[in-house]
């Protein structure tokens, strides 16, 4: 028996465990509740259900695990491979088909009842089904390895199979569900007309606000906002990048601090800060009223406020992207221009600016997409100004309860971001000059022309001050009774949120924020390791391996980069609310959502680090008699350690700060910090909201500084170039 068939034996054994020992269907009170009753377990297995309970549609799955047993004793490699592949593929097909066709009400298509007669209902799949499905996948992979795919490397082919199927299941399947949901008409049947009607609804597309006093369609709202935000963030980001790299501006630590902000800030916090400054009872509004008798208005709620807030929130991202571009311009190029008799202005005009241009376009597109995908700020600050992301939310959770409309809006949002994303890829692919010059060389970059320098200082420095003012308001606003109305000092909000009482019965966590806070930390910590593992493995496959279908694989992972959180949230609700995969209301769906939302960050961290590790190291290890897996374990992983830490921290922090996707998925039992804060803001309980936000910001700042310190220490001891934890790869 060869190594591969022995492996197949273990895989089949696992499959039979899933089939004959574990409960096939989801168990209401969790798996462990069954342990106490052996009979209940037995009854709930697929084998018993198929043979005794007459669920005959499970037979093909049983057969798919029975037939390959024969393959273990076949000598002929090729036919064993075929048996494994066919059993794996057909078994999976039947497993999912029966799941989709037979639901809580029996057959899910009425036509099938007429043909096959009624069937008993079945619940969502459980642990047994998961184990069996995984086993069938691995069986398929083993068959492919036997056939010699990817040079018979079982580890690689299993990794590709598992990653592809999990992306299919948790990214593509939900998005497909969105497409389908948009085509369900009011009577509950599918019709393309419903889809067309929803997508072309005049409410979405009317550009009426351009020429008369009317409201524009929500698509235009989102689009205009995204264009304005993209433009302002790019200009300010460029200003800050030039300020950092091309002027004598001293407090550079301030700028570095700025780079951390978007990572540690929950997205709506800036909106909150702006409300505290400019809202009807905002600090500045009240001051203006008292000093200059300017009446307080609600101007901040709407387009103006949103564009200010998004500019504040996303300028650091543009800055991160553009600082790389500014650094990428070799000073020798400007020096060459200067020696060719160009003055400062002409050098800037003819050399510096044209070289910056592609990066600037890229930064604009990133700002554009960030604005489209932003959910938290429009939620707290949108007022009557609708944007796509919040409209999707209200279509699902509000009184409308119209999944079809939510799905249609999600399709439009997805199309817009994908379009911008594709454009960005193409643009970057063709016009990146930064690498043309080759080796970096020493030299001094040309000073900016006076006009540009004035502009840079004039725009960036006040903006920096503004940003820090907003953060200061957030951090200190939690310590006063009611900012703008009663500015006296108090701990009340912190006690309400995070109070602890020492009673006779021990510590009592009386703070109202504790449940959501602890759930958030727990789930984010649970999600971080799988995010890092799957992300880095994907990065490894993309960067280090060549295999058939790799472009498709790459396309799939890249595509999942571009899906806005709101779309993910709505798609998860639509996809995982009913059997066969029923996950809503559980902690698991939150963890899964964290993993697949943050996967791109982990992939990028991995790709950036792998690019620094010479490919000949793995080749050498292979030649030194180590298998792919051993090579990853002994060479790649030790060298990737900084990237692993970075991925873990990023996914942890981003899981805590994210709101757009998870706000759809939280439940009374599993509430999350961000969702809780948004809830507080909606009822204007700003005190607790700010106190809670400050705690999150300070917590994450601490986590990131600690880790950065640790990595810095490590970098000194191991002489491998590692990407800084706050790398711009996150955004480019």
């Amino acid at each position: 028996m060869s190594k591969l068939t022995r492996h197949a034996g273990w895989v089949l054994l696992a499959g039979w465990v899933g089939l004959a020992i574990l409960p096939w269907y989801a168990v209401e009170d969790g798996f462990w509740s069954l342990i106490w009753s052996g009979k209940a377990i037995l009854q709930s297995t697929a084998l018993i259900q198929a043979l005794i309970e007459k669920r005959y549609w499970l037979w093909p799955v049983v057969l798919a695990l029975l037939i390959p047993l024969a393959g273990l004793w076949r000598v002929e490699r090729d036919s064993t491979a075929s048996i494994f592949i066919v059993s794996g593929a057909v078994g999976l097909l039947f497993l999912f088909m029966q799941g989709f066709l037979i639901g809580l009400n029996g057959w899910s298509l009425p036509e099938l009842t007429e043909i096959f007669g009624p069937v008993p209902p079945q619940k969502g799949m459980g642990l047994g089904a998961l184990v069996t499905a995984t086993s069938l996948l691995l069986l398929l992979a083993t068959g492919l390895a036997l056939k010699g795919a990817m040079r018979g490397d079982l580890f690689l082919i299993s990794a590709v199979t598992l990653i592809v199927s999990s992306i299919l299941l948790f990214v593509f399947f939900p998005v497909a569900k969105v497409l389908i949901a948009a085509a369900v008409d009011t009577k509950g049947s599918y019709s393309p007309a419903a889809l067309v009607a929803r997508l072309t609804d005049n409410d979405l597309w009317t550009p009426a606000c351009l020429w008369r006093d009317a409201r524009c369609g929500v698509v235009w709202n989102s689009f205009f906002l995204a264009v304005v935000t993209g433009t302002t963030t790019t200009l300010l980001g460029l200003g800050l990048a030039l300020l950092h790299k091309r002027t004598g501006f001293r407090p550079k630590a301030l700028l570095r601090g700025l780079a951390v902000l978007p990572i540690i800030t929950p997205p709506f916090v800036i909106g909150l800060g702006i409300i505290l400054l400019f809202g009807r009872t905002g600090l500045l509004t009240v001051a203006m009223h008292e000093w200059f008798a300017i009446p307080p208005t609600r101007w901040i709620y709407g387009f103006a406020g949103l564009s200010i807030v998004q500019t504040l929130a996303f300028t650091p991202i543009a800055y991160l992207v553009l600082i790389g571009v500014v650094e990428g311009i070799s000073p020798s190029m400007e020096e060459a221009a200067r020696t060719l008799r160009a003055n400062r202005w002409r050098t800037f005009q003819t050399v510096t600016w044209p070289l910056l241009r592609p990066g600037v376009a890229n930064a604009f597109l990133i700002g554009f997409v960030e604005s489209l995908a932003d959910f938290g700020n429009p939620l707290v600050l949108g007022g009557n100004f609708d944007v796509l992301s919040t409209d999707i939310f209200f279509a699902i959770v509000g009184s409308q309860n119209d999944p079809g409309k939510a799905a249609a809006l999600a399709i439009i949002l997805l199309a817009l971001t994908l379009y911008a994303f594709a454009w960005q890829r193409q643009w970057l692919g063709r016009r990146s000059y930064t690498t043309v010059a080759g080796k970096g060389d020493a030299g001094k970059s040309a000073p900016l022309p006076l006009a540009v320098r004035t502009l840079v200082y004039g725009a960036s420095v006040p903006w920096l001050a503004f940003t820090f003012a907003v953060y200061a308001i957030i951090l200190f606003g939690g310590f006063v009774h009611s900012l703008g109305i009663d500015n006296s000092f108090t701990f009340q909000h912190y006690v309400t949120a995070f109070g602890i009482e020492l009673t006779d019965a021990g510590l009592l966590w009386t703070g109202r924020a504790w449940p959501s806070f602890l759930t958030t930390l727990e789930l984010a910590a649970l999600a971080a390791p799988p995010t890092a593992a799957v992300g880095l493995l994907t990065a490894y496959l993309l960067n280090r391996q060549r295999f058939i279908g790799q472009t498709v694989f790459e396309f799939m992972t890249m595509l999942s980069f571009a899906i806005p959180g709101t779309v993910i949230g709505v798609s998860y609700i639509l996809a995982f609310n009913v059997p066969p995969i029923e996950l809503t209301g559980t902690a698991l769906i939150l963890v899964i959502c964290f993993v697949f939302r943050n996967l791109p960050v982990s992939i990028r961290a991995g790709l950036a680090s792998l690019a620094q590790i010479d490919r000949s190291l793995d080749e050498c290890s292979l030649l030194l008699r180590h298998s792919t897996f051993a090579t990853i374990r002994r060479v790649i992983l030790p060298l990737l350690r900084p990237a692993i830490v970075a991925s873990l921290v990023y996914s942890f922090v981003r899981a805590i700060t994210s709101v757009s996707a998870v706000i759809f998925l939280v439940s009374a039992k599993y509430n999350l910090a961000t969702a809780y804060i948004v809830g507080r803001v909606e009822v204007s309980d700003f005190g607790v909201a700010i106190a809670y936000s400050s705690v999150l910001i300070v917590l994450m700042m601490t986590v990131i500084s600690l880790i950065q310190f640790a990595i810095g220490e490590q970098r000194r001891s191991v002489s491998v170039r590692t990407p800084p934890i706050l790398s711009r790869e996150q955004y480019t």
Partner: protein, 365 residues
């Protein structure tokens, strides 16, 4: 599977490698005898490194078969072949000490932990790095890193040892010393080796045989002397040792098996290499001529000095003649001024004629 085990240690049979529409290696076959060091030589992009990587198993051939020690390894992954490689970048694992690096490949061997360490120490001793066990690669000089890379490959006692431009990251002096050390090690241990380089001097210095590659084709294979004295075509002639390639005509054959070659208005006899009249080139090595004020013996050509460059040990001249521009080197004492008219005495026994390389315009100097 049914093929007769070949006697050669390494055998390539009609091996091709295509990258998309680019043909990197085209129908290459050769044998390497046990204990030989064979060099794959050619300009960058000629396919030599691709061949090496196919022997190692890092690339799969598009077609053809590869044997190592009589075993068909064409489809085997690198870790299941009995080959090891010294990389151009050395590929030392930066997170492991020197000893750990050298012992790395022994992990799967039958030796126990202590045996592996002893073996690794032995390897380090062979390359003269005793006592460096606990250093990190970053704490070594370029030459020492090179030695660690060699030791790491040697301790596996592979059926074939592969060198991918191992000296290209060293400075000129060190390169000369290291190539001698590599050659000594290889001869002492009797290792079958394949060595890739683009430096013809290095190739001539270390090789038992040289395989010259051009555009994915095997241009010529032979011992260093064979390649230098009887190149098969103009590409080989130019690549090994450099040459002036002068268009000439075959005027006829003499009774004593020589071929009469007409160069400009002069005719002289050379050893017959079987070429017919069409488009033949005379190979004139830069050192295979002397400059004198008047003709002493045939064959000779009248020439005018266009440029003279003093290089310490010798002079370099660019000469205008009726058959084209000729590049020549002369001992340092022969002082000639630009513009002078001279007679160019060719050393007839060092001349040879070649056919132009297919698909390539003869350039020479």
């Amino acid at each position: 599977m049914n093929a007769k085990p070949p006697a050669a240690q390494v055998r390539l049979e009609n091996v091709s490698k295509h990258f998309g529409s680019v043909v990197a290696v085209d129908q290459v076959s050769f044998d390497i005898a046990r204990g030989n060091l064979v060099t794959l030589l050619g300009p960058s992009g000629c396919g030599k490194t691709t061949i090496l990587r196919m022997i190692a198993g890092l690339e799969l051939p598009t077609s053809g078969r590869i044997f190592i020690a009589g075993k068909d390894v064409t489809l085997l992954p690198p870790n299941e072949r009995d080959a090891s490689m010294v990389f151009q970048s050395y590929a030392l694992f930066p997170h492991m000490t020197v000893l750990e690096n050298v012992a790395y490949g022994l992990a799967g061997s039958r030796l126990d932990k202590r045996g592996q360490i002893a073996k690794a120490r032995e390897g380090l001793h062979l390359v003269g790095l005793d006592g460096y066990d606990d250093r990190l690669p970053s704490e070594l000089s370029g030459g020492q890193q090179q030695r660690v890379a060699c030791a790491r490959a040697l301790v596996l006692e592979p059926q074939v040892l592969l060198f991918d431009e191992p000296l290209s990251n060293l400075d000129a002096k060190l390169r000369r010393r290291m190539r001698e050390e590599i050659r000594d090690l290889q001869l002492n241990l009797g290792l079958t080796s394949v060595y890739v380089t683009h430096d013809q001097e290095e190739a001539l210095a270390v090789s038992d045989r040289i395989i010259v590659m051009n555009n994915g084709h095997l241009a010529q294979a032979g011992t260093p002397t064979e390649l230098y004295s009887s190149p098969k075509d103009s590409f080989v002639a130019d690549f090994i040792g450099g040459a002036n390639l002068l268009p000439c005509e075959i005027a006829g054959r003499t009774v004593d098996n020589k071929v009469k070659v007409r160069l400009g208005r002069k005719t002289f006899a050379l050893p017959d290499r079987g070429y017919r009249n069409d488009a033949t080139l005379l190979v004139l090595r830069p050192g295979s001529m002397t400059l004198s004020r008047q003709a002493m013996q045939e064959p000779s050509l009248p020439a005018t000095v266009r440029k003279a460059t003093y290089l310490g040990s010798h002079w370099e001249f660019t000469l205008d003649t009726e058959v084209g521009t000729i590049y020549a080197t002369q001992p340092a004492d022969r002082r000639v001024e630009p513009g002078e008219s001279l007679e160019l005495q060719l050393k007839a026994d060092e001349l040879t004629i070649v056919a132009p390389a297919s698909g390539q315009r003869p350039e020479g100097f």
